[in-house]
Symmetry: C2
Subunit: 334 residues, 2 copies
DNA sequence: TCTATTGGTTGGAGCGCTCTAATGCTGTAG
DNA sequence: CTACAGCATTAGAGCGCTCCAACCAATAGA
C-alpha cells in the first residue's frame, strides 16, 4: 500500500526531485532526454503525484467541491456531469458530497468540503440559510445553481423559471385551455419564480390564476390534486395543470387517473425540469427543459474565472428554458 | 480567502502549535484550561483543520473514495447514502466521483480518487475490467458493491440476485402464471446471477425458461417487448415478465400498453431494485427490494475494518432481497 | 579572451499539520 | 532534602510536494 514518492522516481531516473516535479507538471524547460528518463522511471514504479501534497505545497488547489442538495434528483446529477466535464478539461478534480435536503446535513457537508480547501465550491440547489453561504464565501469562491442570491461574493447559474412557467401557460392556452391551475413548489428554491411566471402569463391572457400549494415531490402532487378534486363541487376543475416540477407532475397524474380522469384528454399536465423521468416512455411528460449540462458547464466556468482571478464581480447567469411537448398535453375536449 | 492555520490559533491562545494539534484531535492529555483557551481562539479565528495537511502529516487518510458507476441511477445514490452515514459516524469523509457507465471514464475516475490517497475505495457497480480493480487494490483497500470478484484483496457486498429472481418467479407462479419470460440485463453486473436464478426457479416449477436479451434501461426493455410481440404468431406471449431491473420494467410496461395489453390484467411485470421509481404512484411496480442503505453500511464497515487492519482476508457479504408487491402483478385472467 | 545570456538542473525552504522525544513542572515517597 | 514518578507541554523533524534562487554548462556577443 506504500506508494512511491517523487524521491523514489528521482533516484531511479538519476535526477533531482525538483526535476521530477517539473516533468510531472509538464514544464517545457526540461530536456527531452531527462523527461523520458523520468517518465520511464515513473511508469516503472507506478508513480502518480500525491494531490494533497501538491495542493499543500503549491498553495493552490485543483479540487472543486460540489454539493448536491439531493443525490437522488436526476436534475442535479446532470448538472454535476456538466460540471465534471468542464472541470476535468481544465485539470480540476471534483469532489462530490450530498446534503440530503436537510439544512443541518447540508451545513456539515459544506464544512466537510471546505476542509479540503477547494479551489471553489458549487452548491446545487442548496437549502441552507444564506448566512451559511455567506460565511462559506469568505473561504472559497462559490457558485450557486438553482438558487439565487444577492450576495456580491457569489455567482449564480439559474434557468429563467419565470419564462419557463410562461411558456407552459402559453402552450396550454394555445391548445385552447382557459382553466389552468398551478401546483407550486412550496419552499423549494425556484418555486416563487415559477409561480410568478405562471401568474403573470395567466393575467396576460386575461385568465384567472389558481395556485395550489404543493411541494417538489410526487406524493405532494398527488395530495394536492386529491384535495382539489374533493373541492370540485364548489370550484370547477381545471382542464390543465402546470406542475411545480416533473416529480410533482407524476404524482398529480397518478391522482388524476385514480379519480377516473384521463390525461391528457380530460386534464393536461405539464412538468418542469425535463428529467430522465419525464422522457420515460411510460411517463412521456410534456415539460419545460432546463439546459442542465450547460448549467453545470457555466457553473464550472464561473468558478474557474474566480480561481484565476479573471473576475471579482459576481456573475448572474440566466438560462433559457424550452418547452418539450410529449404526451400529457392536448386540446381540451369540449 | 486565506484561512487561519494552527500557528495562528496557537499564537492567539498563547500555546504551542503541538498543543493546538492535540486539542483538535480531542486528546485527553490536555488541561481543561488550555483546552478552552485553544477552542476559544479557534472559534474566534474561524479555524478548522486542513484535512490535506493532516493527511500528509499523519500518513493516514480519513477520506473514503466512492465511485458511482452512474450518478443517475437512484440505486447507487442510496447505497452511497448508507456509506456516507456509516463513514461519517466514524469520522471519515466521503469523496464521490462518477464513471458514467464507461470503462474509460471509470478508469480515470478511479485514478482521480486514488490520487487523493484515500483510506479506502468503494466501487459501486463498476464496469472496468477486473485487472484495473486488481491494480487499484495494490494501492488501497477496495470494496465492490453490486459486482463480484475472485480477488483475494477486495471485499464485496452484493445482494443475492439469484435468490431475488427466484422470489420473483415464485411470486408469479403462486399467482397462477405458467408462461413467464425474463428480460435479462445483458452485460450489466448482476445480470448473469439474476438470469440464473430465474432459470433455476422455472425448472423447479417444471416450467420452460424463456430468456429475452435486453439491457438495464427502459429503452431496451421496450425494444425487447416489441420484438417479442412481433414474434407472437410463432411463440405464444407470456402472461408475466421478470424484468432485468426497474428501469427495464418500466420500458417493458410502456411497450405492452402501446400494444394494447393491460398491465397487470393481461401481462404481469416485476422489476428489480425497488428504486424510488418503482414506488412512484404512477408506476407502482412490483419489484425485488435490495437493502441499499444496508449495503452501503456494510461496504463502509468492510473498508474500515481493512483500514484498521482488523482483517486482511476478503469478506463476501451477500444480502437477502425481498419481494415488494405493488400494482403490476396479479393472477392471469383465464 | 572575457563577459553576458540562455536553458537546464538542483538544493533548500516551507506549505499545515502530526508525532516522537525531550522538557518542565508538580507532587509524593524515601 | 533529594529522587522519581507522572503529567502537561513543547521543540523539531518530517509527510510529499512546489517554488525560488542559485548554479552550471554551453553558446553567443563584444
Amino acid at each position: 500500500m506504500a506508494r512511491p514518492t517523487m524521491e523514489d522516481v528521482a533516484r531511479v531516473a538519476n535526477v533531482s526531485r525538483a526535476l521530477v516535479s517539473l516533468v510531472m507538471r509538464g514544464s517545457p524547460k526540461v530536456s527531452a532526454q531527462r523527461r523520458t528518463a523520468v517518465l520511464e522511471a515513473a511508469e516503472k514504479l507506478g508513480y502518480s503525484p500525491h494531490v494533497m501534497a501538491r495542493a499543500l505545497a503549491s498553495r493552490t488547489s485543483t479540487v472543486l467541491g460540489v454539493m448536491l442538495s439531493d443525490l437522488h434528483n436526476p436534475f442535479f446529477a446532470e448538472v454535476a456531469e456538466g460540471l465534471d466535464a468542464a472541470a476535468r478539461a481544465e485539470g480540476f478534480e471534483l469532489i462530490i458530497n450530498s446534503g440530503g435536503r436537510s439544512p443541518a446535513r447540508e451545513r456539515r457537508a459544506l464544512n466537510s468540503l471546505l476542509s479540503f480547501r477547494p479551489a471553489g465550491l458549487a452548491l446545487l440547489g442548496p437549502v441552507v440559510p444564506s448566512s451559511a453561504i455567506e460565511s462559506a464565501a469568505e473561504e472559497s469562491p462559490i457558485v450557486l445553481v438553482s438558487r439565487s442570491s444577492r450576495l456580491s461574493t457569489v455567482d449564480t447559474v439559474n434557468d429563467d423559471g419565470e419564462a419557463g412557467s410562461r411558456m407552459a401557460v402559453d402552450h396550454l392556452v394555445s391548445l385552447g385551455h382557459r382553466r389552468i391551475a398551478h401546483l407550486d413548489g412550496g419552499g423549494g428554491s425556484q418555486s416563487a419564480l415559477r409561480r410568478r411566471g405562471y401568474q403573470i402569463a395567466m393575467r396576460e391572457h386575461g385568465l384567472e390564476p389558481e395556485v395550489i400549494r404543493s411541494e417538489y415531490t410526487d406524493a405532494a402532487g398527488a395530495k394536492a390534486i386529491k384535495e382539489m378534486l374533493a373541492a370540485r363541487n364548489t370550484v370547477p376543475a381545471p382542464t390543465a395543470i402546470v406542475a411545480a416540477n416533473d416529480y410533482n407532475a407524476v404524482g398529480a397524474i397518478s391522482a388524476l387517473e385514480e379519480a377516473g380522469l384521463r390525461v391528457p384528454q380530460d386534464v393536461s399536465v405539464i412538468g418542469y425540469d425535463n428529467t430522465s423521468l419525464a422522457s420515460m416512455r411510460h411517463v412521456s411528460l410534456t415539460t419545460i427543459d432546463q439546459p442542465r449540462t450547460e448549467m453545470g458547464r457555466l457553473a464550472a466556468e464561473a468558478l474557474l474565472q474566480r480561481v484565476r482571478e479573471d473576475r471579482t464581480e459576481p456573475v448572474r447567469k440566466l438560462l433559457h428554458p424550452k418547452l418539450v411537448t410529449r404526451s400529457t398535453t392536448c386540446s381540451p375536449l369540449s
